[in-house]
Structure formats: structure tokens, C-alpha cells
């Protein structure tokens, strides 16, 4: 049975020590994480920095938005060909304005989808968590497939100075 354990710390340094301890004890990099109520400078806990692909999302969205808006603006003019002053049916500059807006709109929507996806949300299983994290406490969470190494993890957390350890 999988188990989730959280060690709570009041200061950043012991939390970073716990992260180092878990690494040294041979726990897999993805199996433990640090939870904070505010962003900390990158690497403050010696944490594993995850790779992300967020920048691909707006580019992908913008391509879709551009294509759809090109079709929309061209098709509406061709469907109702109103000749104005003997000029071509497709009014490029007017099309560009609407295409620009819709390209940006699709870019923004896909960025938001990207942020949510890359944040691994929605996260239906909260696992081990404590409300004091949003009051400035720092949580070091370990997710284990079975209970065989639970004692090792608890020892590391205690050794680093965890104020409290909770299991879920």
C-alpha cells in the first residue's frame, strides 16, 4: 500500500537538510518534494528542478489562433463579397487586426492551459499536507510505494529537525 508522509519544519535550513538527507539515503528524486506557502529562490532546498515545456503552449496556441482567424476573416469576406471603391475583396489590413487579436487570444488561453498542465493541476489527491504550510511552515513530503522504507524516511526527517511528522 502506498504511503505519503510529511515532515514539518519552521525554518528553511533544516528543511533543506531533510531534502539532502533523503537524497543521501537513496530515495528516488521524484519521490520527495518540498511544499511552501511562498516561492523561495530556486535551489533553496537543493530540490530537483523540474523541466517544463510551458513555452511551447503559447506558440502552439498562437498557430491555431492565427489559422482559425485567417479562415474566419477570409471566409466572411468571400461569403459576402462587398466591393468597396473597386478595391480587392480581401482587405488585408483589416484582416490583420482581427487576426492579431484572435492569435493573441488563443496564445493567452493556451498559456493558461499550459500553466495548469505544467503545475500538474488539477490534483485530486492532496496526499500528506498541513494547513500550517500556508502560514510559513515548510513541508517535506515523501511518497512511498509501500511501508518498507517509511521508518528510514521518518528517521531522516527527525534527524533534520522536523517539528512534526504526519502520514496519509
Amino acid at each position: 500500500m502506498s504511503i505519503s508522509m510529511i515532515g514539518l519544519f519552521q525554518e528553511a535550513t533544516p528543511a533543506a537538510d531533510a531534502m539532502d538527507g533523503l537524497k543521501n539515503a537513496g530515495f528516488e528524486l521524484g519521490s520527495f518534494d518540498v511544499l511552501t506557502g511562498t516561492p523561495y529562490p530556486e535551489g533553496a532546498f537543493g530540490e530537483h528542478v523540474p523541466q517544463h515545456r510551458l513555452f511551447r503552449f503559447p506558440a502552439f496556441g498562437a498557430i491555431i489562433g492565427f489559422t482559425l482567424s485567417l479562415f474566419l476573416t477570409a471566409a466572411t469576406q468571400i461569403a459576402y463579397p462587398l466591393v468597396t471603391g473597386g478595391k480587392p475583396i480581401l482587405s488585408i489590413f483589416a484582416m490583420l487586426i482581427i487576426m492579431y487579436e484572435l492569435t493573441m487570444l488563443a496564445g493567452v488561453i493556451s498559456t493558461v492551459i499550459g500553466i495548469i498542465f505544467e503545475s500538474r493541476l488539477p490534483n485530486l489527491k492532496m496526499g500528506a499536507y498541513d494547513r500550517r504550510i500556508t502560514e510559513g511552515w515548510i513541508g517535506v513530503v515523501i511518497n512511498l510505494d509501500d511501508e518498507s522504507r517509511a521508518d528510514d524516511a521518518e528517521k531522516v526527517l527527525n534527524y533534520a529537525g522536523a517539528v512534526e511528522i504526519k502520514k496519509a
Binding site: P39, P58, T84, I98, E101, V112, S119, N123
Partner: protein, 459 residues
């Protein structure tokens, strides 16, 4: 002197959630009062839609009046959010922290309100569907994409959607805080909205990078929106005073002037009403006032450039219009009030540090700016149409009717009501931004002085 407050995360939560987890005594009566005004406004709007635009003072040749003036005004106010949030976020301005959420919210509420005015101004709002939606009706007529009246709804809808999503993404960490401090249906509500936010490094990284990315995407939209609004007028070549090439930048900078002033008004109210003295401090007003001096002066330059462009062309109708706007009763009185409230009083006041740090003075000067900026829009829109020109077969002076005034008052009550309702469920100051400021700041010793130093991450 450097200002810094050492505030714990627990204290930050407690104080900044004082209007969300508890109901302030003034909140319910204020909401009830605003709700009453909104209800009256809705009844008046419904009556106008039922009886027709004859209830307004609009008549040929003045077919755009108070409604369109108020529409442009609210679109202008909406520029506060992105100006403050995106630009200051991109430049990592430290003083942005207590301001961003309120500014973004102001954007969403004012844009939402602005959208109502073209709808009701059309007389029969349901016909807007024929105008903007590309679907095949029986006559095979599609929207004319060459018209700014199509570009406008597209731009404003883009801006409204983007701003709303921007506001929501930045709310996620605070929704987690609220989820942790509520029970019952409220807990279920925040749990649903927080999407399971935990605050791991991956999520924080996405907040930081995503915030910057969204800011960078929203900035060009923000510039385009008011440019397109200005083209509603600028492409009307038959109306003097409207077909000016400076209109797009002029509208954008005017919008920033009124929008940032509205943020100042809101910041002062937030400090007074929710007692957030530790978070919204005189230094924030000082920084906003410095920004406003630059923006207001740029806006003044555009105002004079618009006049110079008009006069330099030696076009007799254009010169006649300017003469009417500036020297003829009652436009001259409005012009004087507009200049005095939009620039002549506020900017010299903001040049004095003592006044910039005085929140009451900042509040009243910001109100003055928006009185002036509303009049500016009125003076751009109405005189151009009202001037008597040759070969016009009907001509009537424009006097806004009580119905128009009432709907304008409704819009102010509506925006205030929306913001107060938001404040009851969500924090108006971003909690995590405040806490981040504490984590990323430390005192360092330089010689004999101890100064706060801010950590900045390189992306």
C-alpha cells in the same frame, strides 16, 4: 531612507483575509445600497430597451453621447490592470506587490461594464448578434470585418478573457490559503477553485514564469484595445475632431492616466476600509504618483499635439471645431474643468513629496483626474457631432436625458458592487506576493547602515 516591514506569514494571512474570512461591519449596508442603485439602473435600462432610444437625448446629428463617452471611460479605466500588473511584473518593481490584484480586478470589472454600453446603445441589443457573429442568416450577410465596430468587440473580448484568466491564475496560491482556513461549503468552493494547489517548487516555478509570460502576452493586447477603440472614431472621416492620426497613442496614454489614477483611488479605499496600513503604505502612493507625473505629462503632450495637428492643416471646419471646443459656451467651461482637473491641479501637487505621501491628497487628486478624463472623452465625442455644418437637414443640441445620467451612475455602482462582492470571497491583495517579498528581502550591512536588499532571480 529605506522602508521595510518584517511581517510574518501568519500575520499576513490574518490581516489580508480580514475581509474574506469575516464580514466587515460596513460591508453589508454598502452592498445593499449599491445593490439598490444597480437594481434601479437595471429597471431603467430595461425600460429604455422596451420604449426605445427616444428616452435618451440622442438625436441627429449627435448619435453618440453619454453612453459611448462612458464606454470609452470604462475601457480606459480597464487599462490600469495590465499597466500596473504586467509592466511592473516584467520590470520586477518591488512596489507592485500590494497593487497588482486590485488593478487586475479593476480591469475585469470595468471591461465587463464597458461592454454593456455599446449593447444598450444599439437600442435593440439582440441585433448585435447579426452585427458581430459570423453565422449565415437568411440573407447571407456576414459581419463586415473592415469596420472598427467589428474589431472593437473582438479586441475587448480578447482583453476581457485574457485579463480574467490572468486574474485567476494569480489567485491559485491564495485559493489554497483560503481552502486551508475554511470549512463546510466554503471549503468545498475553495477546494474546487484551488485545483489541488500544494505549493511545490514546480507550481511556484509555473506561477513565476507563467506570470511573466502572461504579462508579456497581455501587454500588446492592452495597447491594441484602446487603439482599436480610438479607430471607432478615427476612421469616421466625415467628423471633424475624430479623424486624427494621433488618436491611437493618445487614447492609450489617456487610458493609462485614468486607469492608474483609478488604482490610486482604490488603493486608498482599501487602506482605509480594511485597515491594511502595513501593506499599502505611503511609499506605494509615492511610486504611483511618480509614475502618474510621467504618464500625465505624456498625455498632455498628446492633447496639444492633437490640437496642433488640427490647426496646422489649416482646414476651416477643423479650426471651427477647435474654436467651439475651447471658446464657445458651454464647451469652454467643460474644457477648462477638464484641463484643470486632468492636469493643472494634480500634477503640480504630485511633484511635492509631502503630498505624494499623503494618502487623502492622493485620493482626491486621483478622483479629480478621472473627472477630467471623463470630460475629455465627452469633449472628443460630442462636439465633433454637435457642430452645425452645411447641408445638415436636421439639427438639435444634445442634452443628456435623466435616463442617460441614471445609466451612467448605474455603471459606477455596478463596478463598485462587483469589486465589493469579489472582496468578500477573494483577497484583494495577493498574499503570496507579500510573503515572497519577505522571503526575498533581507537586511545587509553597508558601512554603518543597515539596508534592505532584494534577491532577484535570473530567468
Amino acid at each position: 531612507m529605506q522602508q521595510k516591514r518584517n511581517l510574518s506569514q501568519e500575520y499576513t494571512n490574518r490581516v489580508l483575509l480580514n475581509g474574506t474570512l469575516q464580514t466587515p461591519k460596513w460591508w453589508a449596508p454598502t452592498v445593499a445600497g449599491l445593490g439598490f442603485v444597480v437594481l434601479i439602473g437595471v429597471i431603467i435600462i430595461a425600460t429604455m430597451i422596451n420604449r426605445g432610444l427616444g428616452l435618451t437625448g440622442l438625436s441627429r446629428p449627435v448619435y453618440w453621447g453619454l453612453f459611448i463617452t462612458t464606454f470609452v471611460f470604462w475601457v480606459g479605466i480597464s487599462h490600469a490592470g495590465i499597466m500596473i500588473s504586467a509592466i511592473l511584473r516584467l520590470t520586477q518593481a518591488e512596489w507592485r506587490r500590494p497593487v497588482t490584484r486590485a488593478a487586475e480586478l479593476l480591469t475585469v470589472c470595468s471591461l465587463f461594464t464597458a461592454l454593456v454600453f455599446p449593447l444598450i446603445h444599439a437600442g435593440r441589443p439582440w441585433r448585435i448578434a447579426y452585427w458581430i457573429l459570423p453565422y449565415d442568416i437568411s440573407r447571407g450577410i456576414y459581419p463586415n470585418i473592415r469596420s472598427p465596430l467589428i474589431m472593437d468587440p473582438v479586441a475587448i473580448s480578447t482583453y476581457l478573457t485574457g485579463s480574467t484568466l490572468f486574474l485567476y491564475i494569480a489567485l491559485l496560491p491564495d485559493l489554497g490559503v483560503l481552502r486551508d482556513r475554511t470549512t463546510g461549503w466554503k471549503n468545498a468552493f475553495y477546494t474546487l477553485l484551488a485545483l489541488g494547489w500544494k505549493g511545490n517548487p514546480r507550481q511556484w516555478q509555473m506561477q513565476t514564469i507563467g506570470g511573466i509570460l502572461l504579462s508579456a502576452l497581455m501587454l500588446p493586447i492592452f495597447v491594441s484595445v484602446h487603439s482599436i477603440v480610438s479607430w471607432d472614431f478615427a476612421v469616421a472621416s466625415a467628423v471633424e475632431g475624430w479623424h486624427s492620426t494621433i488618436f491611437a497613442p493618445y487614447f492609450v496614454i489617456g487610458a493609462v492616466h485614468s486607469g492608474v489614477s483609478a488604482v490610486v483611488t482604490m488603493m486608498a479605499l482599501m487602506r482605509w476600509l480594511w485597515k491594511w496600513d502595513d501593506f499599502i503604505r505611503p511609499e506605494h502612493f509615492d511610486a504611483l504618483a511618480r509614475l502618474l507625473i510621467v504618464v500625465a505629462t505624456g498625455w498632455l503632450a498628446c492633447t496639444f499635439l492633437e490640437l496642433i495637428f488640427a490647426l496646422y492643416g489649416q482646414d476651416a471646419p477643423e479650426i471651427a471645431l477647435r474654436e467651439m471646443q475651447i471658446f464657445q459656451w458651454p464647451w469652454n467651461l467643460l474644457f477648462i474643468i477638464f484641463m484643470v482637473t486632468g492636469y493643472i491641479i494634480p500634477v503640480p501637487v504630485w511633484c511635492v513629496k509631502k503630498f505624494r505621501n499623503n494618502i487623502a491628497i492622493m485620493f482626491w487628486t486621483s478622483i479629480l483626474v478621472n473627472v477630467g478624463m471623463w470630460l475629455e472623452r465627452f469633449l472628443i465625442i460630442v462636439p465633433g457631432l454637435a457642430r452645425r455644418t452645411p447641408f445638415v437637414f436636421t439639427w438639435e443640441a444634445y442634452r443628456p436625458s435623466p435616463v442617460e445620467w441614471a445609466i451612467m451612475i448605474w455603471s459606477f455602482a455596478w463596478v463598485s458592487l462587483l469589486m465589493l462582492l469579489f472582496s468578500r470571497f477573494f483577497p484583494l491583495v495577493p498574499l503570496f506576493e507579500q510573503k515572497e517579498s519577505q522571503v526575498f528581502t533581507d537586511d545587509i550591512q553597508i558601512g554603518r547602515a543597515k539596508v534592505p536588499a532584494i534577491v532577484r532571480e535570473v530567468e
